[in-house]
Assembly symmetry: C2
Homo-oligomer: 563 residues x 2
């Protein structure tokens, strides 16, 4: 008899598993059970549809050549039966049957399987605060949500909105609605937005969001949604502030949809995701699970947790299908938490561990922040800020964060591959990457970061993060602060924290202007702190023993400045 | 006594070595001897200056904040003595002295050293054909060449030019002059341009260059430069063709400048570059050598040859300085020949080994060509064509080539890191790369290529390259050729090689239209051959035993087509 494969869930991981299973065995009966009316929604594209990057909603549902991926398409092009608007009610594991209900007709029926793949996804978390069911409160999780928000954008029917949650989807939604001329405030309960980044880089993005006229409030949770006649009129924050708004988009994270699995007695992890082994097999050998509903292993820390990323969903779908069809032989290696997000004309990305996360995981982590142009300056270069984290013990690259208008995506991809290849800083300093002026500086930003990291790890450069520097300023630590830029640059913009200006070219002739006590802490900076490092080596050679370079320079200063 | 470091050569590798040496020991006397009047020229930027991408030539000579890197800058900012317009005449190794001549005053002098770094660069090869010294023939190797060509562009003084050599610099120069409205023909003696690529991908670029109204002639060397009154009037090709032109730019490669080293008795390799060990030390322990004048090791093949890349020059300079100052402790790992080049609105890149090169090196190489969009189709995606090469024995990634308007640079960088990390195709199929719609498709193009490669290596997909398919067509091999696209796509463009149109969605109902002899060779294709692969698995499941997918689909067809 032909093998029967049933897949529950028709967004990303599910259709991928179904299609791969069918290609591996064209005689198999492959069925997708999908609750929503839509299939294969490009859900990561919702914010861009809402933001007007393209007009036709069907683009989110179609192949690159414009064919909508509906049940007819699945049947004719792929030989797969897709049952939409159909809910999987329960799983009878003993008899290998999924009990289903057609949500249109109400008719219930059984779907027998030889192998079952669960791809039930995740649902947005709704904070349990009063008023969360008022009209005007939404999430951006479904095609229907996207339609709802796009209509608001097209109708210009809202003037003020709040985004609850400053994560990836929150910030993408903030951009989408701000572009539509809506006055936006993003509210984050934690002390920073985009928690895949360390505070210092996240703060730069927060400033960038503000520069685009969208307000950001951190460290201040929403305590109530306010309404009149069932309609949202505002939100109240923990601080007591009330913000009037007609629309609130909740984006505080998602929770794996594991109830169906749990009810069937499958093991569910402590973080709410379905437990799978390295073959993506659940605690029932005939059932696999993939996508946002599962917990996967972090390749660097071994931690098991949900990893709701669209790219991983696709990869997992393919792996589960292979194992379901051919017996367990393909290991899914897990995630290194690589992610990226557009933030107006900046991008923000991360792979591996942030400094915060690496420390929390017990690594002897060393980080350095660098800034620079992503191409030669004469080729229309843009600023790129990197924060690299390495393991002091092994020298291994643990993580890279990148923000700025420059080519973030390429450097995060480079670092992700380096992490997967277990490369060390020593390997990275001599990496052979593609160079030509239209694409990269002669020394790629990632390699430059590795050079700085190596200097720091060898003790050649003593760095000081902007956060540490700010703390010293606030504690009024005695320091000699030197801005090593040119007078022109100083006129244009400056910190104004008591620094003296000694341009690098003048330093060698002005040693008498430096503290005579050679143990005085000297903090040097310039635009990117490359010149500051040059100056530091010079001062150290002349006996100053406590010279520090403000890492990344003025380009990464996240606090207010004098001008 | 303070250590004396002398660096001969002031373009890329030399200044990097000098600056790093000085930072490592600020008490060292560091001297650069430079023949040209300029220092630290961004020579890879010459074609873009000629092409008018920016106006001010000093941008090529200055720091990102606009300070020209002249001897005064080197002295004041870095404490380095740079002697320009100064020639190193010979090296007295026994007494550790470089004999120099000031080219302005004619005065000769000695420059004693403790450690010497040779960074003498490379010189353009001039083909030994009659007339090569006519006025109007140039290279694009020096700042003076760049000035000469830019003046021609600004003065509109030339209407027809030829580029001799279709390599990286040849193609960049072709673009620069074509943008200036000059009628260009690029002449290549080999059967293809850009020999770091395999023929099939190079041919796509050749077509692209032609689309931009620049002619390309391959497989046809220049046999004479023709002139009148000492001025160039045309070139004659081996075929006998004569092309009138007022300008010829020769770009057939470079030869390491190793004469000074050779005269001093240092070992020079069979390919003309100075021989160095893994510490970049020459056969004299007090002399290091870096940049275009040396031969370096290919990390994949172990071959030793010149690798004249600007990025490597910088890395080598840093390594040599560290070893010269601190004793040999840093190994330069060599090159994987990563390179990239802008070709009008396409880019072309390569890392590791091409299929041709891998086979020549004795690898049991397997390659696959894939094409696809570099983002979701609704996000302004562009076409990207990849050719991946792997070692069948170990599964290891050996190389990636990429061409197209899409983001070539990111995928070459990803692959370069993967090669340096010894990743296998099995590793790549589940790589965790940054995904969001503005930056990448859900399954990154490199991962998609790895999926196809894996299917091919496992025998699930039987591929046929466009070259193999064309050969079969020319030999009139009996085949059933099926275009699996939609009727609309077929109307818009098609091969016209006797194919029948059976859209994927109709295939399952049209098996009676297929050859009844199930051993007939069937060749399937669509736009990218993704649908063709889907169809192939279906036909194989229904008994056809000889089904092949034309790899990469119509998107990579380099030959003329019906429409």
């Amino acid at each position: 008899m032909n093998k029967r494969i049933v897949v529950i869930g028709g967004s990303a991981a599910g259709p991928k598993a179904a299609a791969k299973a069918k290609r591996l065995d064209q005689h198999a009966q492959v069925t997708i059970i999908q609750k929503s009316p839509d299939l294969s929604m490009a859900s990561c594209g919702y914010p861009y549809y809402v933001g007007g990057f393209f007009e036709d909603r069907n683009q989110l549902l179609s192949t690159p050549i414009g064919v909508v991926r509906d049940p007819k398409f699945y049947l004719k092009a792929k030989g797969i039966t897709a049952k939409t608007q159909t809910e999987a009610l329960s799983i009878d594991r003993e008899n290998r049957i999924v009990h289903c209900r057609d949500l249109v007709s109400g008719v219930e029926f059984d779907e027998p399987y030889d192998k079952l793949v669960l791809a039930t996804g995740a649902s947005p978390i709704i904070p349990p605060v009063p008023g969360h069911d008022l009209q005007g409160i939404t999430t951006l999780q479904s095609m229907q949500d996207a339609d709802f928000l796009r209509k608001i954008v097209d109708d210009h029917s809202v003037s003020k909105a709040v985004i609850v949650g400053g994560g990836l989807i929150g910030i993408e939604t903030c951009e989408a609605l701000q572009l539509a001329g809506i006055q936006i405030t993003t509210i984050e309960m934690l002390p920073q937005i985009l928690t895949f980044l360390d505070w210092d880089l996240a703060k730069l993005l927060e400033n960038h969001v503000r520069m685009h006229a969208a307000n950001v409030i951190t460290d201040n949770p929403v305590t109530a949604f306010l309404g009149e006649n069932g309609k949202l009129t505002g939100v109240r924050l923990k601080s007591g502030t009330e913000l009037p708004c007609e629309l609130a988009v909740i984006a505080v994270g998602v929770r794996p949809n594991s109830a169906l699995a749990g009810k069937a007695g499958l093991t569910v992890g402590p973080r709410g995701g379905i437990t799978v082994n390295e073959f993506l097999q659940t605690s029932d050998e005939h059932i696999y699970a993939v996508g946002d509903c599962i917990e996967v292993r972090n390749r660097l820390t071994g931690e098991i947790s949900p990893a709701p990323y669209g790219d991983l969903a696709n990869l997992e779908g393919r792996v589960a299908a292979r194992n379901a069809m051919e017996g367990n032989h393909v290991v899914f290696p897990g995630t290194i938490q690589t992610g990226i997000c557009k933030v107006f004309d900046f991008a923000a990305g991360s792979t591996g561990l942030s400094e915060t996360r690496a420390r929390a995981q017990g690594f002897d982590a060393v980080s350095c922040v660098t800034s620079g142009l992503d191409k030669p300056h004469f080729m229309g270069a843009k600023l790129l800020i990197l924060k690299m984290t390495a393991d002091r013990k092994t020298g291994r690259l643990l993580g890279l964060q990148a923000v700025g208008p420059g080519d973030v995506s390429k450097r995060i991809a480079e670092a992700a591959m380096a992490i997967m290849g277990n490369l060390t800083i020593e390997d990275l300093v001599n990496a052979d990457l593609p160079y030509a002026p239209p694409f990269s500086p002669a020394v790629d930003n990632l390699i430059m970061a590795a050079h700085v990291m190596e200097n720091k790890m060898r003790g050649l450069m003593k760095g000081l993060s902007v956060v540490e520097f700010k703390e010293r300023l606030e504690r009024k630590t005695p320091m000699c602060i030197i801005d090593i830029r040119s007078a022109e640059e100083f006129e244009e913009t400056r910190l104004g924290v008591g620094e003296v200006l000694i341009p690098l070219g003048a330093l060698r002739g002005r040693l008498q202007d430096l503290p005579q006590d050679k143990e005085t802490e000297i903090v040097l900076f310039c635009k990117t702190s490359l010149r500051a490092y040059e100056a530091a080596t010079f001062l150290e050679a002349h006996g100053w023993s406590n010279v520090r370079v403000m890492e990344g320079g003025l380009a990464v200063w996240p606090y207010p400045r004098e001008k």
